[in-house]
Amino acid sequence: MTGIVPAVEVQGVTRRFAARKGPGVTALDDVSLTVAPGEFVSLIGPSGCGKSTLLRLVADLDVPTSGSIEVFGKPARQARIDQDYGIAFQQAGLLPWRTVAGNIELPLELHGAGKAARRRRAAELIALVGLSDFAGHYPDQLSGGMQQRVAIARSLAESPSLLLMDEPFGALDEMTRERMQNELVRICAETQAAVVFVTHSIPEAVFLSTRVVVMSPRPGRIRSIVSVGLGEMSGRSEDLREDEGFFRALSQVRELLHGDEAAPTGARGVERR
């Protein structure tokens, strides 16, 4: 990876939350991770493993107690100010008083883009997420899945080269969820953005990712990193869910998640960083 500036470079990051009494909680302990440009990396692990904390640190919504985080070679704070990433949360978080188009235009408007340029970009993105008939609708008129698609379109508004997603499909039912995953794969292939994706779901992580980062809780650490190796984003489709390689990666991640610390890591196909 020498010569190319990584999309995200996390080095020896620890985040400790102080408590009024007692020693406090170590949410992340000495975590290092590198995400290459255009790479899709999922963070998976039980609750309390610090995966959301890690994402918030990359987004500069929180600062590490120690260690360094760089996004495209800049400190996380500068990357945030320069709008180098787009972000989507578990809750779609649309402003209820803005239409679909208005919500997607929000970041452009806040950063001073002209009206015509805003309109054009919003129309493009609305088409990209397949909501062209709903541009004038308000969020309360949309289903949960549609709201989440709007949120994803909004995160793409400024064509970021990095997308941060914190369980964006976590509140959706299984059927909607799979459809959204298929769409995300298509969108990522089109935009070529790197993605850091936090999830609870093993199939979701495996289906979407180039690499799956398996984390363990208390303190939050990276247990190991599984290279899925299911090929390019553009080649991924519904058939992949029936693929043998998909199932192999699935059981690999599952074993890593359920096995305790003593279980052998560094097994076949698992790369340890």
Partner: protein
């Protein structure tokens, strides 16, 4: 959220249909039926009044030496038609006297004007305080207790103070007039609900939305304008309505305490003296003050029509 997933599975047109239906249901018919129920409530009140007057004991209902229900004599409880008729007779026996309704209407307009000034001042101060408290945590802990304490001081106590202090204000062409004291006292009542409501409203956006604004690297003012103010509308509107009604009550009471002529407050005191020989007359300014309150509340209702877009979240 099963309905939401159903919606996405169904053809698109039905989603739009459902949305339209929801909008329509919340629209005109509902407001109409609300108005009808309001009128029905008024009719029931009138009926109870007249029934009690016809069948209640002349000396009222007395339990253990305490009068629980009023006397039903024509003096204590005039018929509703007596009150109505009185409105169209002249104020006094003098030949030049105008009809009572006109005098009351003029008084109502006078009070409405003062209440409007008081409301504007109160809303401005209330909003400013809420913004200050939202911006600085320290300001909130320093100011909020005083805001709440301020409402425990009775109006009667501050009216003479305001009047006395006001009388000493004079610079250049400007002199402090009595109606300004009344407006100031009205604003003293009006600012309270606005500051509390606006503070809650400004703090109402989800952590999610605040995080998003942080990610967008926008400052406090932009966050205020794009997120906090729009989000506070559904808290602000009830507060504005409450402030309008408080401003009216404050104006009427302050007119009495300060002794300002020309408004409803003064008429209430004046006509109460006539109750002995003219039982219908004291009711006229009471109706007048109700009218002023309704107009004030209606005005805020008009504002909320323009801000409907920002209240969408409530329907969801």
């Amino acid at each position: 959220m099963p309905t939401q997933t159903e919606q996405i599975a169904r053809p698109r047109r039905s989603v739009r249909g459902a949305a339209e239906l929801r909008v329509r249901r919340a629209g005109m018919p509902q407001r109409l039926s609300g108005g009808l129920f309001g009128l029905a409530g008024l009719a029931v009140l009138a009926l109870v009044w007249e029934l009690y007057k016809s069948f209640g004991p002349a000396d009222g209902v007395i339990l253990g030496g305490v009068t629980v229900l009023p006397r039903t004599t024509d003096l204590a409880m005039p018929h509703l038609f007596v009150m109505a008729e009185r409105l169209f007779e002249p104020v006094t026996g003098a030949a030049s006297a105008s009809p009572l309704w006109l005098a009351v209407l003029q008084g109502s307009l006078f009070t409405l004007g003062i209440a409007a000034v008081g409301w504007l001042v109160g809303v401005t101060v209330g909003l400013a305080l809420a913004l200050l408290m939202q911006r600085f945590r320290l300001a909130e802990s320093a100011i909020l207790p005083w805001i709440i304490l301020s409402q425990t001081v009775p109006l009667i106590a501050i009216a003479p103070l305001v009047r006395r202090w006001g009388a000493q204000i004079q610079f250049g062409e400007f002199t402090w007039e009595s109606w300004m004291s009344v407006a100031l006292i009205a604003s003293y009542l009006a600012f309270f609900p606005v500051s509390i409501g606006a503070l809650r409203g400004l703090g109402s956006p989800d952590a999610n939305h605040v995080d998003l604004m942080h990610c967008y690297a926008v400052g406090w003012w932009k966050t205020l304008w794009r997120l906090r103010l729009p989000a506070s509308v559904s808290y602000l509107l009830p507060a504005l309505r409450l402030a309008a009604v408080s401003a009216v009550v404050g104006s009427v009471v302050a007119e009495v305490s300060i002794g300002l002529r020309g408004g409803i407050g003064r008429l209430i005191v004046e006509y109460a003296g006539a109750a002995g020989g003219d039982p219908g007359k004291p009711w006229a300014p009471i109706f007048g003050s109700i009218l002023v309150g309704l107009v004030a509340a209606g005005f805020v209702g008009l504002i909320s029509l323009f801000l409907r877009r920002f209240r969408r979240g409530e329907a969801a």
